[in-house]
């Protein structure tokens, strides 16, 4: 005899009789449809407005290294590089520190303190990006400039890919911490007990059991933070220097990092978006930047979701 079990709300609901199309169901579907439709229309419009640039520049749009709108040259590669460089710097810093802090909170703090820290971090995750931008332009960039010069390097100014990367690192840090904390909590207590049972010390069980087990969740957390870093426009706009055509000698060449650059998002937040408005080709180029950015961010975000789901399947 199968033992009776408690039904989930969803399942219970399906037991109840239903009329075919009543108001609540219709409006639920309706609102869902409105949302999906609105998003589809928006996306379509963006793609449609982007078309002229492909006819104008062809693949040069993607691979070109020069963006001079006055001369109708639209090449976005340096901006793509800027986007990636800035985000990688941010994640290289925020990733380990965030995960380490989450480990500390989860493994070494008593429950109360952990709760307090978690809530504090979630609160700080809400700081608006324009406030970070303010801090960046008035404080951070001078600090970076002076520090780099003290170290003997010769940046042109405090505005650089590095400065933007540092600012982004601080911005995504709370996100990484919160998500990493969730991932670590997701490791079942049985694993930890088993590790202790085998005689592993706390340090060892963290390194060899906890982190690997939470690995998927941690990667997903970092990817989500990456998505946020890629798309950040306002804060980066104020400190990145906004030099459109900074192409490094080789990827991540140090002198390219300590000098000004441009990212896809910060370009969109700038003056050209207003100027481009009237000219179809210029506007198409600008919209295209947004679409490329969107594709990259969506890919990263969905990758994160996929990894998380794969992780869940294993438990």
């Amino acid at each position: 005899m199968t033992p009776t079990r408690v039904l989930t709300p969803g399942e219970s609901l399906f037991l109840a009789p239903r009329r075919q199309w009543d108001l609540v169901r219709a409006s639920s579907y309706g609102f869902t449809a409105v949302t999906v439709l609105a998003l589809a229309v928006a996306l379509t419009l963006l793609v449609w407005q982007n078309l002229p640039i492909w006819g104008h520049s062809g693949e040069g749009y993607f691979t070109g290294k020069n963006w001079y709108f006055r001369h109708q040259a639209f090449g976005m590669l340096p901006m793509l590089y800027g986007t990636i460089a800035v985000s990688v710097i941010a994640l290289l810093l925020a990733g380990p520190i965030g995960i380490g802090a989450a480990v500390f909170a989860g493994e070494y703090l008593p429950a109360r303190a952990r709760m307090v820290m978690k809530l504090m971090i979630e609160l700080l995750a809400g700081i608006p990006s324009v406030v970070y931008g303010l801090l960046g332009i008035l404080i951070l960039r001078n600090y970076v400039y002076d520090s780099l010069r003290a170290m003997g390097m010769d940046p042109l100014s405090g505005d650089s890919l590095l400065t933007a990367g540092l600012l982004l690192a601080v911005m995504v840090l709370p996100t990484v911490m919160t998500l990493a904390d969730d991932a670590l909590r997701g490791v079942s207590p049985i694993q930890r007990q088993a590790a202790r049972g085998l005689g592993l010390s706390q340090g060892q069980s963290i390194l060899f059991v906890l982190l690997p087990q939470a690995g998927r969740g941690l990667v997903a957390a970092v990817l989500l933070a990456l998505g946020r870093a890629l798309g950040e426009a306002i804060a980066v706009f104020l400190v990145v220097g906004r030099q459109d055509n900074q192409w490094p000698r080789f990827p991540f060449a140090p002198d390219s990092l300590i000098n000004a650059g441009q990212t896809l998002a910060s370009k969109l937040g700038g003056a050209e978006t207003n100027i481009a408005y009237g000219d179809p080709v210029h506007w198409a180029a600008v919209v295209g930047l947004g679409l490329i950015l969107l594709s990259v961010v969506i890919t990263v975000t969905l990758l994160s979701a996929w990894i998380q789901r794969r992780g869940e399947a294993h438990v």
Partner: protein, 299 residues
């Protein structure tokens, strides 16, 4: 049922938004402003330079006459021109002369530039450059710096320090005046690769905090303490400082007019605003923000 009510309310609110089409688009001529419920609002957009006295004038008119005036500075001078052209504002603010291209781009608009004052664009440098001995720049030198041929101040008689040039954003009147001086026309300016700065505050901020920095800035912003305005060597070899006397007579090469642009002759609210800025009180505002008022010009 409560649910129905909520649904209906929300739907109505959204429809109301879309239907709000009171065709009260009275006002200047052919500007195809989508008739708006706030047709009473006077809208301005454009140059951040002109915005200073204009916004203060707006505050005064708002307080004294209850006028509804909206100010924005989206896109600088170019933004002002294009929004006037697109019919989104009634007055465009510009700190550069209107070009033929602008007129051709918006054939339906009768651009009417109203001169309200004069300003100058200075090339400003950071303290270390000034103290290092560079106090003048010639057109050729500026050109060489802009094109990347000269990259160190020592080539110009200053200290051994790389030139950190911050280029003004595209569309800014300040940039166009600079390009006009160096190349004769913004269109002849070559494509260059420098970091960009936007408004006055950002420019001054960044130049002041960077060694070897150089940028274009409204001369009234060069305070002589953190950033310094270079004198220019005019075509005849004479060194001209961006002092009010030189700007007034037009000897300083990079002086620029401050304009309110309207579509045709100003009428009603537009006229009130324009008249105010041309009046003694308005011109006092122009002077207050460091520009030259019309009566100070001696040409």
């Amino acid at each position: 049922m409560k649910r129905i009510l909520k649904f209906v309310l929300v739907a109505c609110a959204m429809m109301a938004g879309c239907k709000d089409d009171s065709g009260g688009g009275a006002g200047a001529s052919s500007a195809s402003t989508p008739g708006s419920a706030s047709a009473m609002a006077l809208k301005l957009n454009g140059s951040t330079t002109v915005n200073l006295p204009a916004a203060e004038a707006a505050e005064i008119l708002r307080a004294e006459k209850g006028m509804n005036i909206q100010m924005d500075t989206h896109g600088g001078s170019a933004g002002g021109i294009s929004q006037l052209g697109d019919g989104l504002v009634q007055i465009g603010m510009s700190s550069k002369p209107l070009s033929d291209d602008d007129r051709k781009k918006y054939p339906k608009i009768q651009f009417n530039p109203i001169h309200i004052g004069e300003d100058a664009v200075a090339l400003i440098v950071s303290k270390d450059v000034w103290d290092g001995g560079v106090k003048t720049l010639s057109k050729q030198q500026a050109k060489d710096i802009y094109e990347g041929k000269v990259t160190n101040w020592k080539e110009l008689g200053g200290a051994d320090q790389r030139i950190a040039f911050f280029n003004k954003e595209p569309g800014r009147g300040t940039w166009e005046v600079f390009a006009h001086w160096v190349y004769g026309s913004p269109k002849s300016a070559p494509a260059v690769n420098f970091p960009e700065v936007g408004g006055n505050e950002e420019t001054r901020n960044k130049v002041a905090s960077t060694r070897g920095a150089l940028s274009q800035l409204s001369s009234s912003w060069a305070d002589g303490k953190t950033v310094f305005a270079l004198a220019l060597k005019a075509d005849d070899g004479q060194v001209v400082e961006p002092a009010p006397a030189n700007i007034a007579t037009g000897r300083y090469p990079m002086s620029r007019p401050l304009f309110l642009l309207t579509d045709g002759e100003p009428a009603r609210d537009v006229k009130t605003f324009v008249d105010f800025l041309l009046s003694a009180r308005g011109q006092a505002l122009v002077r207050k923000h460091g520009y030259l008022s019309l009566d100070q010009l001696k040409r």
